[in-house]
Symmetry: C2
Subunit: 420 residues, 2 copies
């Protein structure tokens, strides 16, 4: 099935916002095995939108439009789509109820609902309405007479994403013969030159299920998707492949849950074993703790961290020896080791992690080039230090270090506690 994406909004044309919706939808659709050949962005201009939509409807089976469903006069996506499909509009009673309920949730009475908001409850004939729990604009699936589908979704990601996952994806699957069943296997890339290289045989043989790899910084998501007559058959096709991938990548698989991030997987693991951790950061300068603290509930295991950017701070808070700094420098295996070991001593945390590296620009020597990073992890008195030569500019080196530190912590905890 061929799907085309049209993003509507002057703010995208002006570059005021980056179009993350298109990337989100494209990735989800690829995961379903659907083809996206074109993505377009147009402003809130009915003539140009109509021209673009007619062409898209002509060459694709499904067109998804995002944005332009707001209450203002600029917002003309719905009217234009109805015109292109030759549909008249009517008022939807349930959309009115949702609108009133949404205003009440905001603590505002229905008498505050403006004429323009009521306009949002008008929908084209022969359409499926996707009621919106997070905003005033319902989504709409228009079923055109030529069997093409035009799907209208609100632009704000916090409205679009839940609506897509709850209503649109199941609808799209229903258009195919049977169902599409999919699972994601998330693999971290520490020590792996290429995750894809290790599954080339599986990719070559694939027919049903298919395996689609997506690379993210420091991780690869392998989406396994099967077409089947029902969910049960889909699961039976997908799960053996998931098991095969888990076997191949072992402890490098950090989750097979759709919405679990790398840092959440790490924090869950620490919660499972009742571990606390502490951080000592030089080159990452707080980014590592900053990312781990984004996990709600991290306070169970995280009490404190140090940003020891200067040598004096490494000595004062972590007990790194002056001799080590003089002899080997701050960016050295020895310094990294003393950092995480000193941190363990000073904080009593079961797991301590330390980063030190050359993020550049400047500071290079003949032996130490920008991108040289040492990460040290101490657990119950046992220390592992790893050396990395990372690529890219200051910001990229620092962010790559964060991802590798998270991976190292998880690997070391598994080795210590799960006896892998």
């Amino acid at each position: 099935m061929i799907v085309e994406l049209i993003s509507v909004g002057t703010e995208i044309l002006l570059g005021n916002i980056v179009n993350t919706n298109a990337a989100y939808l494209a990735e989800r659709l690829a995961g379903l095995g659907m083809s996206v050949y074109f993505q377009e962005t147009v402003g809130d201009n009915p003539k140009r939108l109509e021209e673009t939509l007619r062409r898209a409807k002509d060459r694709s089976d499904v067109v998804i439009l995002t944005g332009g469903l707001g209450p203002t006069q600029d917002d003309l996506t719905k009217e234009t789509a109805a015109k292109v499909c030759g549909k008249r509009m009517h008022e939807d009673q349930k959309a009115k109820e949702y609108l009133i309920a949404y205003f009440e949730k905001l603590g505002r009475g229905w008498e505050e609902i403006s004429e323009n908001n009521w306009k949002q409850t008008m929908v084209p004939d022969d359409s499926i309405i996707l009621y919106n729990d997070n905003g005033t604009a319902p989504g709409i699936i228009i079923q055109a007479d030529d069997n093409k589908k035009i799907i209208l979704l609100p632009g704000p990601p916090n409205e679009l994403i839940p609506m897509y996952e709850k209503d649109v994806e199941p609808y799209l699957c229903s258009l195919e013969q049977g169902v599409l069943y999919s699972k994601v296997v998330k693999v971290d890339t520490l020590g792996e030159s290429s995750v894809e290289m290790q599954i080339l045989d599986l990719i070559d043989q694939q027919s049903n299920p298919t395996i689609a790899p997506y690379a993210k910084p420091g991780e690869v998501h392998l989406r396994v998707t099967a077409k089947a007559k029902d969910e049960k058959e889909g699961k039976a096709l997908v799960m053996p492949m998931v098991e095969e991938l888990k076997k191949r990548f072992g402890s490098y698989v950090f989750t097979i849950e759709e919405d679990v991030t790398m840092e959440e997987a790490l924090v869950s693991l620490m919660q499972r074993y009742h571990l606390t951790f502490a951080t000592a950061e030089s080159c990452t300068g707080g980014l590592l703790a900053g990312r781990l603290v984004n996990v709600a509930g991290v306070s169970d295991c995280f009490k404190e961290g140090f940003i020891t950017y200067a040598n004096e701070a490494k000595i004062k808070h972590l007990g790194v020896s002056e001799q080590t700094l003089q002899k080997y420098g701050a960016v050295s295996e020895q310094c990294a080791r003393e950092m995480s070991e000193g941190l363990a001593k000073n904080t009593g945390a079961e797991v301590t992690i330390a980063t030190t590296g050359l993020a550049g620009p400047g500071g290079e020597t003949a032996e130490k080039k920008t991108g040289l990073v040492y990460i040290s992890c101490t657990i119950n008195g046992k220390t592992t230090v790893q050396k990395f030569q990372l690529k890219g500019n200051r910001s990229r080196v620092r962010n790559s270090t964060v991802v590798r530190a998270i991976t190292m912590m998880r690997q070391c905890i598994l080795r210590e506690y799960a006896e892998i």
Copy 2:
């Protein structure tokens, strides 16, 4: 002048990467007063690319294509563009020299240059070559016979951005009658409900120069652009408006330099007054220091920071009193004040900053709702505490806190040292 953007690349169609190039180019073009009505994304498919490019060339004056200039057989942007413009290809001698120099920079001999790389030195007739310091693919401006311009740029942002700024923008300006001269005034939004509201009169009156506001998290960029016969006249038109904006926003203007970020402006200010700073973070958990450390040269003024996530860490490292924590809680004006004052005492830094807040989810009380944040800044024994009620989810509250902390530090330093 009407400009159209075409992004070429299967990785965008699959959602593997977010299209930040389109947003970057759109914003820069809007700043030059140029109109972008359409943006498209197509894969590495010559037929679909040709169809898209022909239509774009038909309806726009300039078409900028990004991506698809790589060395592999998939990369067909250049060949397709030459075909659409009816141009033959020839080898460019200087592009060959650049290619050899680039390989040498990587420490690789020219004998390692593959057949496919040499292909990258082929260019269409009647074109301007944009030599690439950061990669193997030159950019190309094809001047078509119908006076339309097709501009081909490499996809990686670290190649595209310098090439656009150095070569493409001046070229586009040269196409207009006279020149476009522009300056950006970057304003932080602390305490300002809306920057735009304060310049509505200027926006209403504008003709030449124009003022275009772009909102970013915690800051607004006001781009002032004039059309003029030469740079001198442009400057004479633009600078009085820049001065007016500086007068209206006073110390909230953190820079009028194109490439200076909020954190760089802060670090420069501290370098100017020879100040050191230290950080103590609770809800931001390292993100604030992490962002400041992204400024190269921050080591002049940053030695150490603490992530005091737990109450015990606030007591141990910052000397917050147990009584304060019991009576007012960790998220309180009193706690924030003791954090930055204790930090000053323990580190001796001239400027100390502390964050404490409820980023959610969970932990709310009747008085303290998610998004409640206190930031405290101590300079030479004088402390300023500000209370914020921020919107959004955990990640947004934490990032908003970082931006406000940076702004507060700058404001407090200016008040103490610049006598504003």
